[in-house]
């Protein structure tokens, strides 16, 4: 406590005796103004989006969330139900696929790979994150889509057709399954690179202790590495989920843009972000614009919750490790 006090009063007392330096004041004000842009932009985005969505919020209320419609009844009825369904299904599906793969990649890079392989593979995995979503979407339409309709889809439907989520045959390449695969590719590099850093940060003496007790490598991972990095893994997964929720371009290219709730993943659907992106060429009425922004409000709420949760977990973990 005395150290903190010293830090607070020491230089300040010196400065009071010294002359006033306008340069310091200018630097302080200018940099502080820049640093406030984060808060200001967050507030501004929230305010603007809420204001613009207000007409739709007033007209439809929370019923918007449970209405499945887009421009029905002569362009007067809008609702987000099917888009929320599509968003939840595709991003959770992607997370389900990406989690084991990402953890495995992170384990390979942190525990198994020899140095030179790590030096080659780690940047390659990160390069996967550098592929623009519009290019992934293009690949999704022209390569992945036909592959799903022609080979993968019929195979899965043939063997697992009794499972409701594979109950239809993919008739067109654009479907929720394609969106899930594309989102999986997008979040693998994010989750795996965060997890790799977490695993590398596990203290060697803990791992050595377990090894000395005769544990196999996998037992060390299960008994020491995973529990130690648990909170961080959770944060990484939430960040990945946030990314999947908000991806608009690649999803709108492959999902089929249908206002529908289908059990089978081989049917088309739509997500919040994708529906917004699909309307870029212009909305016909003020109500449609307001409804579109209402979708953005829902998306904003989703992503704010996901990001705040992830950041708070990260901060708590970092705080614990410092002590």
């Amino acid at each position: 406590m005395s150290v903190a006090q010293e830090r607070a009063t020491g230089p300040a007392a010196l400065q009071r005796r010294g002359r006033f330096r306008p340069g310091d004041a200018i630097l302080y004000v200018v940099t502080c103004a820049a640093a406030l842009t984060g808060v200001v932009l967050l507030a501004l985005i929230t305010h603007e989006v809420l204001t613009q969505a207000w007409p739709a919020m007033q007209k439809f209320g929370l019923g918007f969330l449970t209405t499945q419609a887009w421009g029905d009844k002569g362009n007067t009825l809008f609702g987000a139900k099917s888009f929320i369904f599509g968003t939840v299904v595709t991003s959770l599906g992607a997370l389900l696929l990406a989690t084991p793969i990402s953890l495995a990649i992170a384990l390979f890079l942190s525990e198994l790979a020899p140095r030179w392989i790590r030096a080659v593979v780690a940047p390659l995995v990160e390069l996967l994150a550098a592929i623009p979503s519009v290019v992934l979407g293009l690949w999704g339409i022209l390569v992945l889509g036909p592959f799903i309709t022609g080979t993968l889809g019929p195979a899965i439907h043939g063997t697992l057709g009794w499972v409701p989520i594979f109950s239809t045959k993919p008739s067109v390449g654009s479907n929720m399954f394609a969106a899930i695969l594309i989102l999986t590719i997008m979040i693998i590099p994010i989750v795996s690179s965060i997890c790799r850093e977490l695993f590398v940060g596990v203290p060697a003496e803990l791992k050595d202790g377990a090894l000395a007790l005769g544990a196999t490598r996998w037992e060390v991972v299960r008994g020491v590495v995973f529990p130690y990095a648990r909170a961080g893994i959770a944060a990484a997964l939430i960040l990945g989920l946030g990314r999947a929720l908000g991806e608009a371009i690649a999803v709108t290219q492959v999902i089929g843009n249908r206002v529908a709730i289908n059990t089978s993943l081989f049917d088309p659907g739509d997500t919040l972000a994708s529906r917004i992106a699909g309307q870029y060429q212009g909305a016909d009425t003020a109500l449609q614009v307001a409804s579109l922004v209402y979708l953005a409000v829902i998306l904003l709420v989703f992503s704010l919750i996901a990001n705040l949760a992830a950041q708070l977990i990260v901060r708590r973990v970092a705080g614990r490790h410092q002590v």
Binding site: G23, L27, A34, I131, P132, V221, L292
Partner: protein, 300 residues
């Protein structure tokens, strides 16, 4: 005899064998997963390069997109307007984001009280997680509605995306600058602002370049912020940021939606160009990062 038995048992026991098999299986799965990720990268990049190659020639870089009416030979077509447009949009975005990002990092690292710094950093982290499409909608509402689209408005949306990235990477290098350098400068009587700008900041230039390049590379590939801000462009070359301008991502996005296979080929070509730009930028960034970190660590 009995003294040696336990050792032999430990290594041959059924349980140990099972533990080893499980271990092997997991190790194999982890290796396979890493191979899968690399394979995915190779599959995507190779299909872009293979199919984009056919479209890439001199005309592709110098001509504007030509509309084919369906009769006669196809006119030579290219994406020059989109390449120039992307450079302009990204350039303006960098001009907006770089000063804000660097000044933010200076404040957070050098000047701010710790509590305030952590709150402001949280704000940037949350801002970083807002979907690009929401940023696009925000800029649309904020400056496009009633005024029309313009390239600088797209730059504004991209800049919001870039600021947190630039601030974060600048902060990371500023933290590496040894405090003895600051103390030495202050002890010589230099003012805080003088110390910050001419002693601390020059040390961090490498990190700033890295952050700026990575942010630019990421922004160059973003489509969502352009949809509502610079999408209604003409196909001719334009240098005026007050008008909507073509861009490579928008070209890929709109071409992919068409049924015309020639447009698909052009979209692949544009994707190859875009990935090329991003890869080069990433390599430059990595090189700068390695160099500056090595230099800062070496001086300690």
């Amino acid at each position: 005899m009995s003294a040696n038995a336990p050792t032999a048992d430990l290594f041959r026991s059924e349980r140990m064998r099972r533990r080893r098999i499980v271990n092997r299986l997991v190790e194999g799965a982890a290796t396979a997963a890493a191979l899968l990720a690399v394979a995915l990268l190779i599959i995507v990049v190779s299909s872009v390069v293979r199919q984009g190659w056919a479209a890439i020639n001199v005309d592709f870089f110098t001509k504007t997109p030509a509309i084919y009416t369906g009769f006669g030979p196809r006119p030579a077509s290219g994406i020059s307007s989109a390449i120039i447009g992307t450079l302009i949009i990204i350039g303006i975005a960098l001009l907006m984001a770089l000063p804000v990002g660097v000044l933010t990092a200076i404040y957070l690292n050098e000047l701010a009280p710790r509590k305030l710094a952590s709150v402001l950093t949280l704000a940037f982290d949350v801002l970083n997680g807002i979907p690009a499409i929401v940023l696009g909608i925000f800029v649309f509402i904020f400056v496009v509605v009633g005024h029309g689209q313009a390239a600088w408005k797209a730059s504004f949306a991209l800049a919001i995306l870039m600021v947190p990235m630039i601030a974060r990477s600048t902060q990371e290098v500023l933290a590496l600058v040894p405090s003895s350098m600051r103390e030495a400068s202050l002890a010589l009587g230099a003012a805080k602002w003088r110390t910050t700008l001419s002693v601390v900041l020059p040390q961090a230039v490498g990190g700033i370049v890295t952050g700026a390049t990575l942010a630019t590379a990421r922004a160059a590939g973003e489509t969502a912020p352009l949809l509502f801000t610079s999408a209604l462009y003409s196909d001719s070359v334009s240098y005026d940021p007050r008008q909507p301008i073509a861009s490579i991502p928008m070209f890929i996005f709109t071409s992919a939606e068409q049924a015309d296979p020639v447009l698909h080929e052009q979209a692949w070509g544009a994707a190859a160009v875009l990935i090329g730009i991003i890869l080069i930028a990433s390599l430059i960034a990595r090189w700068f990062a390695d160099r500056s970190v090595r230099r800062l660590k070496g001086e300690r």
